[in-house]
């Protein structure tokens, strides 16, 4: 116990110091972890309503935010890691803000967004009661190396989950995980209704193992299926013939991917809450969720909206282009190749940029600005200018398109840099300080 208190104190001190410097969110977690390796186990000991890990390639941050919103709307106190720092140390870092010196978190539930590798490291310390597994797509292959490997990581996570897993019925990498869970662990599915099944390929990775004997599951009454009514309005079907459905409702975030995230979050919330789940409460909570930073976040710049859209892999970029393609605006694309972006930019050739052809792209920027311009050239998308320096590119972009809406597609570190510059000039919530 003394050791844990020491860890909390050391971690809190590091957290305060790193905030003063405006530094990263993982450092204080590292400090606490060093002082007490059992820190996580201890911190989560009193959390009895469920320890939920949300993992998968795309949509973790949005889905986590939605799940937490729905659970809180049902009166549960929920600990989460809202910083988008989806490594174990990031989780500890965000805990430190809420933790009494006893080192035990006072919350009904914990909902943690973790990337595939860190989800397993977390499970080594604390067995999750529930896992919500979203999808497997190529993302930063220099870290996870291969899709097969990523799918294996998630399967191991599911094996260690003690009560229930919520799986994507439409992603065969994820759906196969049903055969890996321990006896007695409930499998719940989320997915899309048959009426929009033709749109799945734009969201998903190719599974090349199409000749084996895997039989796709069939959704039952406790499984959630997305049924869109139009571009913005949708319902999540539950129950016999949709008798217990959530919606119709409209999210603040646009696009099919956000609707699927909402379906995943709602299905998980229903599995966690059981009879306490109220479809009307869930719908209201989802309507109120604002997009997480960089996921379609809108900054008002001189009276005009500027959208920041994070892109990090082919599936995500394709979905983003599909989401925003129907409303073309002045566009900039910023591609960095730092570790957090994925150092290999090959994936840009697995995205089709034709939807940008008519309006063209005002600027490409970032370390790989010229590679991006070259990629667009191969899709016959006109590029007005290439400026590798992000701040100079931002200035030119804002100055060149003062009286119209603007959009920047950007990789992770490019987004962080652009957002820092924007935050210094305009009124933006700090990253990591997002209302939780």
């Amino acid at each position: 116990m003394l050791r844990t208190t020491a860890a909390v104190v050391a971690g809190k001190a590091a957290r305060a110091a790193s905030r003063l410097r405006g530094g990263g969110s993982a450092l204080p977690g590292l400090v606490a972890e060093r002082v007490d390796p059992g820190f996580l186990t201890q911190a989560l000991r009193d959390v009895r309503g469920g320890i939920v890990v949300v993992s998968g390639t795309n949509g973790k941050t949005t889905t986590t935010k939605m799940l937490v919103a729905v659970l809180r709307a049902h009166g549960r106190t929920v600990f989460t890691n809202p910083t988008g720092s989806n490594f174990t140390r990031g989780v500890i870092s965000s805990m430190l803000g809420e933790l009494p010196l006893s080192g035990r978190l006072a919350a009904d539930m914990a909902v943690l967004e973790l990337d595939e590798a860190h989800a397993l490291r977390f499970a080594d310390a604390v067995k999750p009661t529930h896992a919500l597994l979203l999808n497997v797509a190529r993302d930063q292959l220099d870290r996870f190396a291969e899709i097969d490997h990523t799918a294996q990581l998630l399967a191991s996570l599911a094996e260690q989950t003690t009560t229930g897993v919520v799986l994507n019925i439409d992603d065969s990498f994820i759906a196969r995980i049903r055969d890996r869970v321990a006896p007695g662990v409930t499998v719940t599915w989320f997915g899309v209704d048959g009426s929009i099944a033709d749109r799945l390929p734009e969201l998903q990775e190719q599974d090349v193992r199409f000749e084996d004997d895997f039989t796709p599951p069939v959704a039952g009454p406790d499984d959630g299926l997305l049924k869109p009514a139009d571009d913005r309005t949708f319902s999540i079907l539950f129950g016999e013939n949709g008798s217990a459905s959530v919606g119709p409702l409209e999210l603040q975030q646009r696009g099919l991917a956000a609707m699927i995230n909402a379906t995943a979050a709602t299905t998980a919330a229903r599995a966690l809450l059981g009879d306490a789940f109220d479809p009307a409460v869930a719908a209201d909570a989802l309507r109120a969720v604002t997009p997480p930073f960089g996921r379609g976040e809108v900054v008002m710049v001189d009276g005009q909206p500027l959208e920041l859209v994070l892109v990090k892999n082919p599936a995500g970029f394709t979905v983003a282009l599909g989401t925003y393609g129907s409303t073309p605006v002045a566009t900039m694309v910023a591609i960095n190749d730092n570790y957090a972006d994925g150092r290999d930019v090959s994936w840009l050739y697995d995205v089709s940029f034709e939807s940008l052809r008519e309006r063209g792209v005002a600027l490409t920027s970032g370390v790989r600005a010229y590679d991006m311009a070259l990629r667009l050239q191969y899709d016959d998308v006109p590029v007005d200018a290439v400026e590798a320096d992000l701040d100079r590119a931002l200035d030119a972009f804002l100055a060149g398109h003062p009286d119209e809406p603007k959009r920047i597609f950007c990789t992770y570190t490019a987004m962080m840099a652009l957002r820092r510059t924007l935050a210094a000039r305009y009124d933006l919530p700090d990253i990591g300080e997002e209302a939780s």
Binding site: R209, E211, D337, V345, F353, E354, L374, D379, D380
Partner: protein, 309 residues
């Protein structure tokens, strides 16, 4: 979609591809019918072509008479579904687009396991794959072995990246010592490793400086007398020790470089196209000068970033 009329004009052609229904991906998400030249027959279910981002629909179609431009060049991508991870389809896209820009007409064939091999093939491309993908092509590759070896001996240009580079070698020795035979077109042997070689690469090659990105666990050794594709100036290359990258025998090039390799290294792309054009037409290659300013700047920046002087 019948936009076969405009095969000479890439811009026209691409607009044709935009006719796919709203909400569907730009390349059309449903099964794309195989071009006439690649009708699938036999006991196997008709494999479905994969969308090549940016490539116009119908580019597997042989152009009508009078629409051949300077000549029709048949390009075959081997196993695009199983073996084209890390953007390797971008190489096929680059080749097809540049063939058009040089005034020729490409016919892009996708060869799937079990399908008949296209009758005409002037240029072959292959990419990297996951282990599960690699397993799925081995039997087919063995079936095609004699034909591919004959084509290589006859001078057909081929660019094989990563996994397909390894399969074009003599053998792949797994971590547990199992020997998986390759085609033996390139005199290289690859040893499976626990550690991956990952990162950006700069090479010196016969085609000038070449940039790309490697990501492989296999460690490859050249046989005595086997020429490398390039000398490593930055990165690890075949094995991280002897400074070689890839292999080249005649017109067959194997390399670990993704990136994909061709867009940022147009001299290599045009060398392959030139060889293919000569085979297709029986005449010397008649190139059109290209604006490669973006490609040159993208490449030069990587060279400046990565090579310490």
């Amino acid at each position: 979609m019948s936009d076969g009329q405009d095969l000479h004009d890439e811009g026209q052609d691409l607009r044709g591809a935009d006719e796919s229904p709203q909400g569907a991906g730009p390349d059309g998400l449903g099964p794309i019918p195989a071009g006439d030249g690649t009708a699938y027959a036999g006991a196997h279910p008709a494999p479905v072509d994969v969308p090549i981002p940016g490539e116009p629909a119908g580019s597997a179609r042989v152009p009508d008479a009078g629409r051949e431009g300077k000549g029709v060049i048949h390009v075959v991508h081997l196993y695009p579904r199983e073996m084209s991870i890390y953007g390797d389809l971008g190489n096929t896209r680059t080749i097809a687009a540049r063939i058009r820009r040089h005034g020729y007409v490409p016919v892009v064939h996708q060869h799937h396991p079990g399908a008949p091999f296209p009758e005409e093939a002037h240029l072959l491309l292959g990419g990297g794959g996951q282990d599960s993908g690699q397993v799925r092509v081995e039997d087919d590759l063995e079936r095609l072995g004699d034909r591919l070896r004959a084509m290589a001996a006859d001078g057909v240009p081929m660019l094989m990246i990563c996994g397909m580079y390894q399969l074009f070698g003599n053998a792949f020795i797994t971590v547990d010592g199992k020997r998986l035979p390759g085609l033996g077109i390139l005199d290289v042997t690859t040893q499976g490793n626990a550690k991956r070689m990952i990162g950006p690469v700069v090479l010196d090659t016969d085609f000038g400086p070449v940039v790309g990105y490697e990501n492989h666990s296999g460690s490859t050794t050249l046989g005595s007398g086997q020429a490398a594709f390039g000398r490593v100036r930055s990165g690890l290359g075949n094995n991280g020790t002897d400074g070689t990258e890839g292999a080249r025998s005649g017109n067959v090039i194997g390399s670990y470089l993704h990136g994909p390799i061709l867009p940022a290294n147009p001299a290599l792309a045009d060398a392959l196209i030139g060889l293919a054009a000569e085979r297709a037409t029986g005449r010397p290659f008649e190139p059109v000068p290209q604006d490669d300013a973006y490609a040159d700047e993208a490449r030069n920046r990587q060279v400046r970033r990565l090579v310490r002087r």
